[in-house]
Amino acid sequence: MESNTPTADSTPAETARRADFIKVSRFNFYYGRKQALFGIDLSIPQREVTAFIGPSGCGKSTLLRNFNRMNDLIDGVRHDGEITINGRSIFDPRLEIIALRRSIGMVFQKSNPFPKSIYENVVYSLRIAGQNNRKTLDETVERSLRGAALWDEVKDRLHDSALGLSGGQMQRLCIARAIANKPEVLLMDEPCSALDPIATAKVEELIHALKREFTIVIVTHNMQQATRCSDNTAFFYLGKLIEFDRTAKLFSNPAQKQTEDYITGRFG
């Protein structure tokens, strides 16, 4: 996949690699006997924001949680088909699941800071990798909190408990924690659903800023949010991918009737 010419960015191979950064092929997923995803084919481009929309239970979160194999924590799940990230299968038995999750940050629906200090929350991923160098940790904390637009609000109380923050601050702390390890991909599972409009606006601004460095996939129930902050949108319905396109195109001129019905609020 890697090209060694100096103009790597413009070669056709490089362009293809960027367009197919996360590539899902003929992917089926089952919870026990219940099939949750049906033959998904999808290519998510690098360093863009891709939104997953669709009614509850349509499989969008399930697919998101496959990218860092969080679904492995659930008993009785299985899958077939393939998912590659940067050309590498995430189901490759030689791939360490720990390494995969370290290279993919995840932000959950409900902010879930650990009952530790703000500082220790951010450096958790470094600590578990055995990094205890004070200088490295300090730098990571500042870089990550600045990256999550939280630094100015908490820089004087880094060693206070994270549980004393407001809801919006907690969610940005979780984003800081997720990017501390410089992952390639940032997965966000309805990150704003528990936030008020002001906190939501802050997180959306943040998503804009973060896509310069990360490939972002965001699950959202809020279609305005999808139009505001994503470059591409995938619409899921009953476990199938109905339509995937540039966000502007999908919302203004959807190719499928079901997509149109959903985004105009006729169901879901």
Binding site: R101, N112, F114, P115, I128, S161
Partner: protein
Amino acid sequence: MDLSTVTHSDIFHGSMARSGTRAVGNRVLNVLCVVLALLTLIPLVSIIVLLLQKGLPLLRWDIFTQLPPAAGMVGGGIGNAVVGTLVMVGLALVLSTPLGVLSAIYVNEYAPNSRLSNAVRFVAKLLTGIPSIICGVFAYAVVVLTTGGFSAWAGGFALAILTLPTIILTAEQALLGVPKAHREASYGLGATNYQTIWRIVLPDALPAIMTGVMLAVARAAGETAPLIFTALFSQYWLQSLKEPTASLSVLIYNFSTLPFPHQVQMAWTASLVLVILVTIANVTAQLVFRKK
């Protein structure tokens, strides 16, 4: 009811009357609850009052430094029994806490639905109901008979068996109480099972686990039957863990049945000391492991 004939005032008065009886019923139930709550305090308070009344007269510092008085003699103390109880309860905790907490971790974190986990849960629940004398007889058969004598080890072993199920079950509840979201966050950041358990789950569950351990201590410290079978009693200071060992509970049992008033009074004082020790242990644990 024919709605067309119901006027506004009918509805109004009807609901007033009903809410009136409801309010009375509510008040009666409230009063009943308060009275019953007060009733439960009666045995508890009477025990404490009685203990203080009968136990305080002999409670002086020197009873902690002296050996029990021989039959018919006055003076003396309960020093060796206090030491014996502390040592044997300590031994029991050293044996049962790691075993119990690690079992709970296996049962709850590693294989919650495995056959082994279900078996451990089932056996632990069964064992909580087992009479303490059975633990004593078991420890007698396993430790006393095989090592050739009564000892502090045997007493600690019997108390460990007695406390183990409580520790397993309360620790499992404590682990269950840790939010799933914390585990997910940890795994999502690339932590292993081991790291998630030791860095996130255990610290979170520790206060609740310690509450369980303290419950177990409170129970173990007061047990007499298992110790009669295993540690027996001793008139002397503890020299070695391999010898018969005095304990507060057995001292209380022995002295309270003697026909000498001084010994009976000493038994009351020992009871008071036992209650104070358990309370101190409880309060300390709560303070040390309180959630920050």
